[in-house]
Amino acid sequence: MATDNQNATGFGEVSRVRGIVFEYLSLGASVAGLVALGVLLVYVAIDAFDLANASPEWLLTYFLTLVVPFLAFCLYSADDAAVTRRVVGVLAGGLVAVAGVFTAIETFVVTIPRLSWQLAYLFVVAAPVTAYLAYVGSHGRVGAVGFGLLGRLVGGIAVGLAVGTLFLVFDELVWFLAYTLGVLPAAALYAYGRWRAAARAVTAAAPIGLLGLVAAAVLRGVVRTYPSDLVIYLWTLAIPVAAVGALVVAARGSRTAAVAAGGGPLALATAGGFLAGSVGLPGPTTLIVLAVTGVPTAVYVHRVVDVGEGTVGLGLPLLLAAGVIVGALVVEAWGVPAPDPWLDASYVTEAPSRNAAEAGLYPAIVGSVIIIALVAVLSFVLGVGTSVFLEEYTAGSGLVGSLTRLLQINIANLAAIPSVVYGLLGLGLFANLLGLGYGTAVTAALTLSLLILPITIISAQEAIRSVPDDLRRGSDAMGATRWQTTKNVVLPEALPGILTGTILALGRAIGETAPLIMIGAATTVFSAPGSLFSRFSAMPMQIYAWAGFPQAEFRYGVVAAGVITLLIILIGMNGTAILLRNRAERGS
């Protein structure tokens, strides 16, 4: 050091330019992929909803009737003057900035295809501001109530439609017998046992239920007369849902409220189910949707009113519905030219067609729902079983320890095998060797379950590992056996994490296409599948098939609508998973 001191006269100066350039370069790299994806999503949304043909008046109408009231609701809920100022500032400043920049680019550089400055404003300023406000507003009591109600309405409709879809494939008569002879007696016995603290009744519930299921399978071939579909759904689905709802309310408060919360939606659903036929809707599905939506909504409304905080938030669905109706009335009355979206009601309820205007996604949606339901059951059971074994039942050392490590390495490698190879497994093993058929729902479900199994296991393991060891030791000290500890302590604690991981993995399964092609799934089917062993299509398969059509109406219309449908379902699933995780984190 001492010999080399000609530089030691001062600290000198270091140029900051290089560092600053590097920081912004890496920031740019971080958002580059996201910006690219964002632009592509904007274009696909414009194509799916035909927004390129939306007149400025039409956009303005709905902006005023739908977006502005929603923003006002969120601002009211946030109740923060700083947020209000910021939002109004961004909305107004953004309007000037976007219009200016957009016009400048269009005049001096290039014309931007299928985009106007109004649309650019909508996507670049209005949409992020709305998302931000929804986030801020949901932290207020009023906003939380509003979004909670909205979530129950939307979720109830989605679950109801999915259940209705499943009965296209599963025999509702078997379900009727199984429910009446197996599920109902077992549940009643179990509830009685818990209520009266009678251990025998609880122990007997499972065998009795199994016996009932076997009896149902046998009787299905013997019994000839059944009640109508509507009565079956009323008896097996609507009444139990209403009963559970009523019990939840009864546990909190008065009996009259309980009867109202259970009976009101039930009566509405029954009436809706019987009247739906006359308007051309399928009665049983209407009944299920109304029951599954109505009962949780009623329970939620009762709780909100009971607590008495943020009751104003209950008006959010009404506000949005009114916005849509008023907007539609204005558009109708003043003859505002409206766009003709590809993604509309007929798109999701009709069969595919060679004619772009008539093409629909219905059979593919049904196929996807059925596969995902099967995959959910299979991968949940297998995933939880494996992760419990790896986390709770194995030792860290010795022969068992090395076996565990082998399993662990194997699972990590399974997660990295290309999906197309799983398709070959499905083709060779399930379709050809076991003879489950090419492109049937069973083959597809088994293949996709194995495909997402490693992801499910890894996330379930993480959830189980995060359960504190103190709880296990406490349970052990009480004399509980390993299974009792697992069932009573570990699984209830880890369940939200496991569910989150499973739903995220299912999101992967719903978009998988390559394995479905390999097992010979149909690219296009014209009617919904009638059984688990009939050939079916799935949403990504249909998108793949349509993407190959050279006509512009397909490329820029029908496929875009399919992509948006798939993405909406994905967002719904992932949103549910994130909500579950947040709720669990808040609870613990």
Binding site: F22, S30, L406, P418, V421, G428, Q484, T513
Partner: protein
Amino acid sequence: MTDSTESPDLQRRSGLRRLKEGTYGGFFAACAAITLLTTVAIFATLLSDAVVFFAEIPIVEFLTGTNWSPNPAGGGQSFGIIPLLIGTLVVTITAAFIALPTGTLTAIYLSEYATPNARSILKPLLEILAGIPTVVYGYFALVYITPALKATLFPEMSTFNALSASIMVGIMTIPMVSSISEDAMSAVPDELRQAGYGLGATKFEVSTGIVVPASISGIASSYILAVSRAVGETMIVVVAMGAQARMPAVREAPLGIPYINPADVLLESGMTITVAMVQIAGGDLTGGTIPYDSMFALGLALFVVTLAMNVLSDIIAERYREEY
């Protein structure tokens, strides 16, 4: 947690309870065994049909042949994997040119520069890139990227081409590079950074001169995983790259040196291993034909390559874990 139905069993004598314990333990072990069986089943399925295939087509011919035409309209079948390997390599390398620098810079930003708030927003957003279904990416490449590139940079580009497919594969693999690299960078002990600052280094010098070299094995392992993902990627290339197995045209440079113009490969359609499998699967699947068996031979090749890459990545990552 306990109630009267779950009385403690201090002596472990109850036969029913023991049966219950055994049943559940056995059930969990069976579930775990299924994961092992899956690997065995994949290997057995691929191998059994691939063996039949190699009995018909010599393995040397398969590995060195320059022509792939499993279902010819007129002439004879030929099963040479070279054009498919070239297609796969083109996509993988181009995608790597996008994903590796972007992913590394993203990881550096997340680990060294971003505020905790920015990180908590950016990280889940980046995961979205890996969560979009690949068929959707393929559609984006075909319908939006290709026309955009055609209108601006490459007017002579064909509708199905390797470039737009590779761009999308690259974007999809960014989070794979960034998340694993960021984990490795975050694992670098803070003392090393502080020592760097103590010697008068700037933040830039600490990031690129200390953190990156210290986490280089983690970064390398993330690169290999991302490349292995790109090798196995199917739907993007199937939708956007077309299905023409071809050898690139060899041109002559002025001094008689042969070379391949990248534009010939990137702007034209091509075929990867995965595309070849999907194309055969679109036809007859009843089994027993040579094209059917060739699918499994290709699958075996893909399986071996990706497995080797994952094992390599594991080994590299293992070495890095021992460092601190």
